[in-house]
Amino acid sequence: MTTTLERKDYLSGLDPRWCAGCGDYGVLKSFTTALAAVGLPREKIVMVSGIGCSSRFPHYTQTYGFHGIHGRAPAIAIGVKLTRPELSVWVVTGDGDALSIGGNHFIHLMRRNPDIKVILLNNRIYGLTKGQLSPTSPKGKKTKSTPYGSVDIPLNPVSLAITCGATFAARVPSTDNAMMTEIFIEAHKHKGVGLIEVLQDCEIFNEGEWSPVSKKSNRAANTVTLKHGEPLIFGEKQDKGFRLKGFELETVDLNDKSVDRSQLLVHDAHCSDRTLALKLSLLDFPADPYPLGIFRQVNGPIYEEEVASQEQEVARKMGRTDIYNLLHSGETWEVSSDDNWFDMPV
């Protein structure tokens, strides 16, 4: 019997404890829309989270969930995936959770390439602890813990993931439900690790943080949308493009008749070399148009599959075995005794 599940069937029914206007609501909506679109059975989904506003997410989906400890969701997730590869495993995390306290787990998750998707809700602030600096807060940011402005250089989640070899990396604003849904679906279809950075504002502690790039009216002027196989065109009038000049991305004016359109840089998310994807991820607003969309989407060896195939290979070579054989392997000797025996104390 197959019943078609609708979006609301993926909601647990608990009222989210997020602040009014929080970007997380949009993510929950788009995510459940994506689940309904791909028709994943609810019991096959495992949502793992750490600590922070974002990490409340699994409470609101009608799936299996594990609300873990700060920064460590990837560790739990990999244990689930290695032993239950048939399950669809998602990590929901935040900028502090994934990149500060959980930075080590994040980089190793990305480099190992298990089929685990990471939704990183990046609001560039610590919300749950009420407004401290996060590892993605821009330099100079004034927060409760940096009243005179931060001197830290921020981390870029997409660049970090690509550097580690992530086979799927995307960025999407929480203001664009359609784009989020599409990217969640693409992430689900991707076999291997995936990072989806969601740009969202914290209405209380970081209001309007992303509006230059996430607000609909600013999008055309300040962002560039990455579409595989299409040239990178941007600008309010969509009249600018990129051209490679040595290692640099050179902005060209498409109104200029001397520009050869065939020289425009065409986005190749499937390129096995990660250099171009990394280069694009380093584009930073306001100096550059801020890239949105899928940076990288390539195939690579899947961690849990490699582990399983090695186990199967060893099992095949060793043949059938059991604990009797295990206990009796190596050097053993027999003792036959008369009535007057003793057993050694342990």
Partner: protein, 634 residues
């Protein structure tokens, strides 16, 4: 004077007989042999092979491995000395021995650092070739001790081990490095001759272990035989030795020789198999626990997944994830790693998932004494977690007990849905002894059960007997639920931070661990049942305490002992037993950690004997304490 296990006096033996003809081997009771040399000399292999040969020959054996914290400390220095001690006897060998009867010293540094361990009149076999100026100087000798009277109190045999090894291997035309590497097998052959041990199993082992290179097999085999022949033909030794036959035979069965880390590894595989679960080990390399990771990584023919994580934290986190997924999650570590895992263990307490955490203890605090044993992590196992966070704590007491402890830990973890901490230590981990392999019908019936009936399912609805919550595998339709570290509402498992619920949940988690007592077998009192003095121990001091009590009972001193394998919760009958004895002494390789807990729980006066030197208790140290406490002399 206190008796210990070994009391040989090698000074009293007959003098050299001529013509290479030797009389019957001299019979010995329990005897301690120590091999020592540079950490690159293959001492651990030499010692292990000797112990194996003895065990297969039917002797009771216990070993102690000691190696430097550095991979290759400066060659020839005292810091770089590696040691391996083997205690052999007909029966009742419970420790690796107090004083050394026979020391095999491969270089001056080995002699220097191990001489204080050798009994007066004991035998020293020295590799004469390495007693050259350069090495003597490195070891801090101004004169060659083999040539002056410094060793007059011992029977010294200088053997040109390097020279004879290269002579024996000359015809093979091997590079010098390979010849040099074979000298430990020459020494093994010589000592096997000295103790009348057959060479065959060592030859078989060489063949198997070095199968990649025929040349190495040949070199090591020939060196082994040459060492044996040297003992046979030289007039150096007046007599060889043989360990007495046991008065009683061992229980019939198949035996093997194993160390604590292997026993834990096998126990875990067997436990998972008996439970019908996949075994998942999340681990991060750390001395002296890494061998469990190595061993389990080799056994992919079973449903065993090993994961070398990016750190100690991820290692336990992945194990918890695996348990959530329906596998038997295990993590292995030592003290510093245990500290890092603490928050995750707390999550397992709150999430109420089965989890086994193995701490192979070493000396602390901080990096401490990485290669030395200690029992300093009991407080940490019991109380390091924030909040009211009870977990089960078990302690293995010997290498072979590690097997049983691993299975018991799995039984409790699964039945009560709780983390179980196993405390082992560096002595048990690397110490070896013979073990009767259990028959399959001696193993417990312990299949794990998952709840699959969605009807009336509630994630925190507890079993009325064990108070365990149900274990549901993700993927089971209609039973989707979330678990985690936030306080849960009783029964339903929703987040609930209200005062009454929190207090209820704290007490339910505590009561669940209390109920584990129902599964703990009664304690066994060793020795004089009506003694005046009761010794209480846990962990690796079992052998020394048991033997000390045996020796003291033999001379009529009223002493008994109990050895705790369950440190949280305590066995039900512990309080009654403690009250039965007028005086109690808690013996520990720490400053009194079990002592603290016993006094707190039973409000009884207790004395203590503590040692924190990175080495296990000697039998004699415990006997001295017994005599002092009882005010008697032997």
């Amino acid at each position: 004077m206190c008796a210990s296990e070994n009391t040989q006096d090698f000074k009293t033996e007959p003098s050299v007989s001529g013509n290479g003809m030797k009389g019957y081997p001299k019979e010995l009771d329990i005897t301690t042999i120590r091999f020592a040399g540079d950490s690159g000399d293959g001492i651990q292999v030499l010692g292990t092979r000797f112990a194996n040969a003895s065990a297969i020959f039917g002797e009771d054996v216990m070993t102690l491995a000691e190696y430097p914290a550095e991979i290759r400390a400066p060659a020839g220095t005292v810091a770089g000395v590696s040691g391996f001690q083997v205690n052999v006897g007909p029966q009742d060998v419970y420790t690796a021995g107090d004083l050394v009867d026979v020391l095999v010293a491969m270089n001056p540094a080995a002699l220097k650092s191990n001489l204080p361990l050798v009994r007066q009149g004991g035998i020293i076999i020295a590799n004469e070739d390495s007693f050259i100026d350069k090495n003597l100087e490195k070891a801090g000798y101004s004169e060659n001790p083999l040539e002056n009277d410094e060793l007059a109190a011992f029977r010294v045999f200088s053997v040109r081990i390097s020279h004879f090894t290269s002579t024996a291997l000359e015809k093979l035309g091997l590079p010098r490095v390979q010849v040099e590497r074979s000298k430990n097998f020459f020494a093994l052959g010589l000592v096997c001759w000295l103790f009348n041990l057959p060479l065959q199993n060592s030859l078989d082992w060489i063949k198997q272990s070095f199968s990649k290179s025929e040349e190495v097999v040949k070199a090591n085999s020939e060196a082994l035989v040459a060492g044996h022949n040297y003992g046979e033909s030289t007039e150096l030794f007046s007599s060889s030795y043989i360990i007495k036959k046991p008065e009683r035979q061992r229980k019939a069965g198949t035996y093997r020789y194993l160390n604590g880390n292997s026993a834990l590894s096998m126990g875990l595989i067997v436990a998972a198999d008996l439970a019908g679960l996949r075994l998942f080990l999340g681990s991060y390399p750390i001395t002296p626990a890494s061998d469990i990771l190595h061993e389990l990584s080799r056994h992919k023919e079973f449903p065993v997944t090993t994961f070398q994580a990016e750190d100690e934290i991820a290692a336990v986190g992945a194990a918890i994830g695996a348990s959530f997924g329906g596998s038997l999650g295990v993590t292995t570590t030592s003290g510093p790693g245990m500290a890092l895992k603490t928050e995750f263990i707390n999550l397992a307490v709150a999430a109420e998932l089965p989890l086994i955490i193995i701490n192979v203890q070493r000396g602390g605090p901080s990096t401490g004494l990485p290669t030395k044993m200690e029992q300093g992590d009991l407080y940490q196992a019991l109380w390091a977690r924030h909040g009211e966070s009870p977990a089960v704590v078990l302690a293995a007491r010997s290498p072979r007990d590690c097997f049983k402890t691993a299975i018991e830990a799995a039984q409790i973890a699964i039945k009560y849905m709780t983390p179980v901490i196993i405390l082992s230590d560096g002595y048990i981990a690397n110490g070896s002894e013979p073990w009767r392999i259990p028959e399959l019908n001696e193993l417990p019936h312990m299949p794990a059960r998952f709840l699959t009936d969605a009807e009336g399912f509630q994630p925190y609805k507890r079993d009325p007997v064990t108070l365990a919550r149900p274990w549901v595998r993700p993927g089971t339709p209609g039973m989707e639920h979330i678990i985690g570290g936030l306080e849960k509402r009783d029964v339903t498992g929703e987040v609930d931070l209200t005062p009454e619920n929190h207090e209820l949940m704290v007490s339910l988690r505590a009561e669940k661990i209390e109920r584990v007592r129902n599964d703990i077998p009664p304690l066994k009192i060793e020795g004089d049942q009506n003694a005046e003095l009761l010794i209480i121990g846990w962990g690796s001091s079992f052998g020394a305490i048991t033997r000390a009590v045996m020796n003291q009972n033999a001379v009529g001193h009223p002493v008994a002992s109990i050895h705790l394998r369950h440190l949280n919760p305590f066995p039900k009958d512990l309080g009654k037993i403690l009250k039965r004895f007028p005086r109690r002494v808690v013996v520990e390789n720490n400053m009194g950690q079990l002592w603290t807990k016993l006094r707190a729980e039973y409000l009884l006066e207790m004395e203590r004997l503590n040692k924190v030197k990175g080495t296990p208790f000697k039998i004699s140290e415990i006997e001295e304490m017994i005599e002092k406490t009882l005010g008697v002399n032997s």
